[in-house]
Symmetry: C2
Subunit: 391 residues, 2 copies
């Protein structure tokens, strides 16, 4: 267990608190290669070997009670905080505003872990990985994993890292689905669960957006039924899928504030700023994401239903034993507050202790990735209470 940061940088980061950086970090991997006991998925498929990419920040305390697992969203990765290269202008990890000395996930107190999910394309085994049975990428044949399978792989990682129980599991969007699944699936291993901008299941509208995004990929001739070469992926389709997705991550008001109708004349062929922004987002995405991975992960999200096989949402939460913090955002129309409220009612009926806050913001679904609201304080307070109870 290391902080991931070099001693010099870690010391420097600590000196910057409150709100400092974890400094320079690197992504590590753990590989589970046990042919006799392969990793089994809910669908019955088996995977061996399985590699997990992860980063850690802070130090595991002697009693091992200060671990916080961060679950990233669809397009995230294990690099949640700090810097990989430490060069000027480098963008920090995707949740750097939340993780670091003096930040809500205070690395002076907590040992923070973030791993790329099962089925990902940023170091963890997924559709772009080589299938040892064929010597070629799994591609479309990668098994139809579930959010529960992702949790099981995270649990294996924690076993390997020697962490019997999490102080908290925390995630936004798909990461929030994992946090909820953790709470219900492994009640003895979770003291607190934080579900941000998420839901116990997708709405049919969200499924519809996923499907049109997938169709953008399938209709790209470069898709080749998912059997494209890594160097020649269905770029146009994947970029369009991301453009569609990106609309749903913002709100109407956020778009009005960000773009208004700038850039469009009264004649010509468009050229509105909002169009250029989406094209930019689409192009950026194809450089770091894989099309088969996108198809699989959106389907896993579509199928996720915390209540399925457990009787009801209330019955599901009866299995849990942790405290919950649920945060929704008023302008998030992809994971609307109403679904969080339904979930919170079920938690309460199940006898769970839950804090719920709907944060009023124009930022839409992406709000959990952005500064400018109370989420950080809510998470910090929730963790502080769990930590004081644990020690």
């Amino acid at each position: 267990m290391t902080t991931g940061a070099s001693p010099r940088l870690a010391a420097a980061a600590t000196a910057v608190a409150p709100g400092g950086s974890v400094g320079r970090v690197r992504t590590r991997t753990e590989t589970f290669d046990t042919p006799a006991a392969p990793f089994r998925l809910e669908c019955g498929a088996r995977l061996n070997p399985v590699t997990v990419a992860y980063e850690t920040y802070g130090r595991l305390a002697p009693g091992r009670r200060n671990a916080v697992l961060v679950c990233h969203a669809l397009s995230g990765d294990a690099h949640a905080a700090g810097f990989h290269r430490g060069v000027p202008g480098e963008r920090p990890g995707w949740w750097d505003l939340m993780i670091g000395p003096g930040k809500p996930l205070d690395t002076r107190r907590y040992f923070v872990i973030c791993s790329n999910f099962l089925g990902g394309c940023a170091g963890t085994t997924g559709p772009a990985s080589i299938d040892p049975a064929t010597g070629r990428p799994y591609g479309p044949d990668f098994p139809a994993y579930t959010i529960g399978d992702q949790v099981e792989l995270q649990a294996r990682l924690l076993d390997r890292l020697g962490i019997p129980r999490l102080l908290a599991v925390i995630g936004g969007s798909m990461g929030g689905m994992q946090a909820l699944e953790w709470a219900v699936r492994h009640p003895a291993r979770v003291a607190g669960a934080v579900a941000l901008a998420t839901a116990p299941r997708l709405s049919p509208q969200a499924i519809a957006f996923h499907e049109v995004a997938r169709q953008a990929i399938f209709r790209d001739p470069g898709w080749r039924g998912g059997r494209y070469e890594a160097a020649d992926p269905p770029r146009a389709g994947l970029a369009l899928a991301r453009m569609i997705g990106h609309i749903t991550y913002l709100s109407e008001e956020a778009m009005v504030r960000k773009f208004a109708r700038r850039g469009g004349g009264t004649a010509g062929t468009g050229g509105f700023e909002v169009e250029r922004y989406l094209h930019h987002q689409g192009r950026r995405f194809v450089d770091r994401f894989d099309a088969n991975t996108f198809v699989h992960i959106t389907r896993a999200m579509d199928r996720f239903d915390l209540a399925a096989g457990r009787g009801s949402l209330e019955a599901a939460f009866r299995r849990a034993a942790c405290r919950f913090l649920v945060v929704s955002f008023s302008s998030d129309w992809l994971f609307p507050a109403a679904l969080s409220e339904e979930m919170v009612r079920a938690m309460r009926l199940a006898g769970r202790e839950v804090s719920y806050c709907e944060i009023r913001t124009h930022q839409g679904h992406d709000a959990f990735l952005l500064p400018g609201h109370r989420m950080g304080d809510l998470v910090a307070g929730f963790l502080d209470r769990l930590d004081r109870e644990a020690t």
Copy 2:
């Protein structure tokens, strides 16, 4: 001027009132072929000849004061009411619930006209029409027309039909944009304007959805820069464009009511009912719509801004002289009620008389095409008042 219905059927329809059918109708065309005075567009381009497809229902009264122009939406056509073939199971025109004897647009009182818009692909000159200069379809070279140009072609049609002034112009969505433009552009020719589920300009979010839909077409290899053969269009891209659009025409609640999460298992590759519904809508669309037409019309909608070149929205409405009825729908997130409210405030500041109603419904943007709410009564009452004032 004819009713469009045969005397026998018209008589039969009258007997069915209230709420009867206009009976059997057919789409007619008028062609303007005056090489010396071609149809001029705002962008400076000229078109000759120009054909307009239209239908009429009811009878023009001797004083010619009972004409109501219906403006259709993006995917509509001139066939607004009644039946073309009169065979069992045939679907009536797209606004049959509103037009007919005893219906809100009561064909016993009003002479109703509906024409396919300039740039359309259902009989009126548009990108799929033959450019006489080349002998081939205009395709991507069709001029970048405006909502104002569409109004001018409708005005030519009314001239040809001998209608100096409309009792009312009425439309939903893009048709509502035309109705607003009519009121501001030709104040002497309009006694009343009805704007349903529309806006004086699109939001950046709506523009964003249009752009991803266009990109679905552009990224289909069958697009060929818009120079596809009519028999070999970019079907996959156009279908996907429609699937994207269709999500925006419904509301989240409408989708929950209509589909919930039915059809999806906890494993497998999806197959949710909402996905099948979208695929069905996509397939249907390609049989009746043209890709170049879609690209052009969505761009015309994107560029539409009633205030542009007129100082402000208020200044624009100072040019108008008619009464207005504005109706928005609470769950319409493509043309949100807030934009209607902004428009109504501008109308009032400009001294216009306006009735405004936000109808509470889960039906989303498509509500103006559907029964089950008060819109019909509001329109009927508005027309009745205009009619009594006129006679």
